[in-house]
């Protein structure tokens, strides 16, 4: 039993990481129908930019951090929307999704050539100590990730439901045409979600990189799992990302423990297929309207 709980907690901890990466994914999908195949690279890059700023300009860590984050928000929050998404959005989901694939290659190769082909350690914001939870040892870093993931969802829910800005954003997501008629600055709202997405990626990057190290190729795994998490949870719902992420994390952990380490990747995917066939809109998702 203790063993099972250990696997469960490990799964929740990794699941929270996937969730953190998946939230931004669902956000940009909702407001702009963007399937961002570069989401994993979005999480990989801030840590690399920070280390690069420290290395290039000899800045102290906090200053490098601020510079890296600012550059990232500018390029991959606002720039991404204005340069890539805006011109393509009216041409449907697919060309844009492909464009984000190309973007992911640029980010990955850029990080490799501009920074390093090797993994680098990244300083942790949280102490690396261990605590004991239900007889299982868990690191403060993992705990912090779980807490932040839940807090991020909570804050977003509050923001969307409880603030004027958030409600405007919600209205934009649901029906941009009506929102525009109601006088909501739709463009600004969409931009806001992209900035939020980039900011969430920064948070995820700061939390994950101390554990997983900063490396150009890190986005591949994280991106895939975040993608699966978003689908499973329902990628038109922000809280779906949390449910999906944790479910995938736990499924992965338990699969490695009890099914087969060689086939562990298969379990989240089978789960994905089952959920799509039974409830295509995802566990927490809204049904998308059927056009007749």
């Amino acid at each position: 039993m203790a063993e099972f709980i250990a696997y469960l907690i490990a799964g929740i901890a990794t699941g929270a990481i996937y969730a953190l990466a998946a939230i931004g994914f669902t956000l940009v999908w909702q407001t702009s129908q963007t399937i961002n195949f570069a989401q994993g690279e979005f999480v990989m890059l801030p840590a690399v930019l920070i280390l690069l700023a420290v290395k290039l300009f000899g800045l102290p860590l906090w200053a490098g951090g601020l510079l890296g984050i600012a550059v990232f928000l500018l390029i991959f929050g606002a720039g991404f929307k204005l340069v890539v998404v805006d011109p393509m959005i009216k041409h449907g989901v697919l060309p844009l999704a492909i464009a984000t694939m190309a973007l992911s290659t640029i980010m990955k190769e850029g990080a490799k050539d501009g920074f390093s082909a090797e993994a680098q350690s990244f300083p942790s914001l949280v102490p690396t100590d261990m605590v004991n939870l239900l007889g299982v040892s868990i690191s403060l870093q993992h705990l912090a990730i779980i807490v932040v993931a839940f807090a991020a969802i909570g804050l977003l829910q509050w923001f969307v439901g409880g603030t004027r800005l958030g409600r405007q954003m919600q209205a934009t997501a649901q029906n941009p045409t009506v929102a525009r008629i109601l006088g909501i600055p739709v463009e600004r709202m969409v931009l806001l979600t992209f900035l939020l997405n980039a900011a969430l990626a920064v948070v995820a990057s700061l939390l994950i990189s101390p554990i997983y190290l900063a490396k150009f190729s890190n986005g591949e795994t994280i991106g895939l799992f975040a993608f699966i998490a978003a689908i499973v949870g329902g990628f038109n719902q922000v809280r779906g990302a949390l449910v999906g992420g944790i479910l995938i994390g736990v499924a992965d952990s338990l699969a490695a423990a009890y099914i087969s380490t060689q086939y562990r990747l298969a379990v989240p995917l089978v789960l994905l297929v089952a959920i799509i066939l039974i409830k295509p809109e995802g566990l927490m998702g809204r049904k998308e309207e059927r056009r007749i």
Binding site: A10, S116, K215, S217, T221, S253
Partner: protein, 378 residues
């Protein structure tokens, strides 16, 4: 239809080869610079570049300067094949790389057909068993290293049982498939056989699994970052059993990344810039100065590969491609004769290597060599 012709013309222009300068020794390095093998390939590339610079500074090979061209394989067999084909079309004197055994498998027939030496960084046992006389290693193969590990586990660690953690690619699977029979021969029981993914980020579940297996020791056979992540996860889960590894696990990069989680790691090291060999240590120091980070064994391999070509050419006293392979086969290269080879190296008929290796332990974040193991066939 005019654009069809234009396209055809553009195509042939793009794929035709530029005229070559004849006054240089052209080595083509077909190497993993992107994809899964990027970290290993970058080390190798740097090592090879350093070797070329060293050789050129001392007047080149038989008076000719060395030129190294690097072609990225994207760690993809099809692309590797294209790159090796290109190397041969461009009249390369010898081919260096790749490191991963899939890409090696896809390209070695081409160099064989062209009768040109291909000096690779792979450690998997299989490709020197296919009777290809043009393939050469730069390190001892898993088939040679794993018996040493098994012996070490039995005699020194005195483990009765072991958990094996390996990465499920040709490198990790190859090592795992080679060591399991050796462990059986040594009477060591495998209590957990844990496969992990290339590029895997989270090792918590694997560490718990290893912990629950409760073996006397853990054999870790992963790539660099994954090794570091596993060591960290193992430390978090409070695994206190000795971690045993082969070369990679005790490499500079892993030690840097794993921090104090690496302390106490032991194992066998084929090539290391920390080995008690002055030439290796000197190489390591110069590499660090030049590239800003420590070289792993792949950097050393890339360096040696170039010097293998140099030695063979100077031995045959002429630029004969086929002769390079013929000269290397069955040769013994002494570091006293050719300092660039760093260690005395015996090349067997099938392209395998035999040379001294080391048993090491990590103490306070540093690799400490305890024992130097002799060659298998002294």
């Amino acid at each position: 239809m005019k654009s069809l012709w234009v396209m055809a013309a553009a195509l042939s222009a793009a794929l035709s080869l530029p005229a070559q300068a004849q006054d240089k020794v052209k080595l083509i390095d077909v190497i993993e610079l992107s994809g899964a093998g990027a970290a290993a390939g970058t080390n190798w590339k740097n090592g090879a570049d350093m070797a070329a610079a060293d050789i050129n500074a001392k007047g080149g090979i038989l008076g000719k300067q060395v030129e190294i061209v690097h072609y990225d394989t994207q760690t993809n067999p099809g692309n590797t094949r294209a790159a090796v084909q290109r190397a041969i079309d461009e009249n390369a004197y010898a081919i260096l790389g790749p490191i991963f055994s899939g890409p090696i498998g896809a390209s070695m027939q081409i160099s064989q057909r062209a009768e040109i030496a291909q000096i690779v960084g792979g450690e998997a046992a299989g490709f020197t068993r296919q009777g290809n006389p043009y393939i050469f290693r730069t390190s001892i193969s898993q088939a040679a290293a794993m018996p040493k590990i098994a012996k070490y586990l039995k005699d020194t660690v005195k483990a009765g049982s072991i958990a094996v953690v390996w990465v499920n690619n040709d490198f990790g699977k190859g090592g795992r498939d080679t060591i399991l029979p050796e462990l059986e021969k040594a009477g060591i029981k495998v209590t957990a056989d844990v496969s992990t993914e290339q590029g895997q980020a989270d090792f918590t579940a694997d560490a718990i699994k290893v912990k629950n297996a409760n073996a006397d020791a853990v054999f870790v056979y992963l790539n660099e970052e994954e090794s570091a992540r596993f060591l960290r996860a193992a430390k978090q889960q409070g695994i206190t059993k000795p971690m045993i590894g082969e070369t990679t696990l005790l490499g500079a990069k892993v030690l840097e990344l794993a921090g104090d989680a690496a302390n106490g790691v032991k194992g066998h090291v084929g090539l290391s810039t920390d080995a008690p060999v002055p030439a290796l240590q000197d190489f390591g120091k110069r590499y660090r100065e030049k590239y800003g980070f420590s070289s792993d064994h792949n950097g050393v391999k890339g360096y040696m590969a170039v010097f293998m070509v140099k030695w063979a050419t100077e031995k045959q006293k002429k630029f004969d491609k086929k002769g390079v392979a013929d000269t290397l086969r069955g040769a013994t290269i002494k570091a006293s004769e050719e300092p660039g080879i760093l260690m005395d190296t015996v090349i067997e008929q099938n392209g395998d290597l035999d040379r001294e290796s080391f048993l090491a332990e990590v103490v306070n974040g540093k690799q400490v060599i305890n024992t130097t193991l002799p060659r298998i066939k002294p």
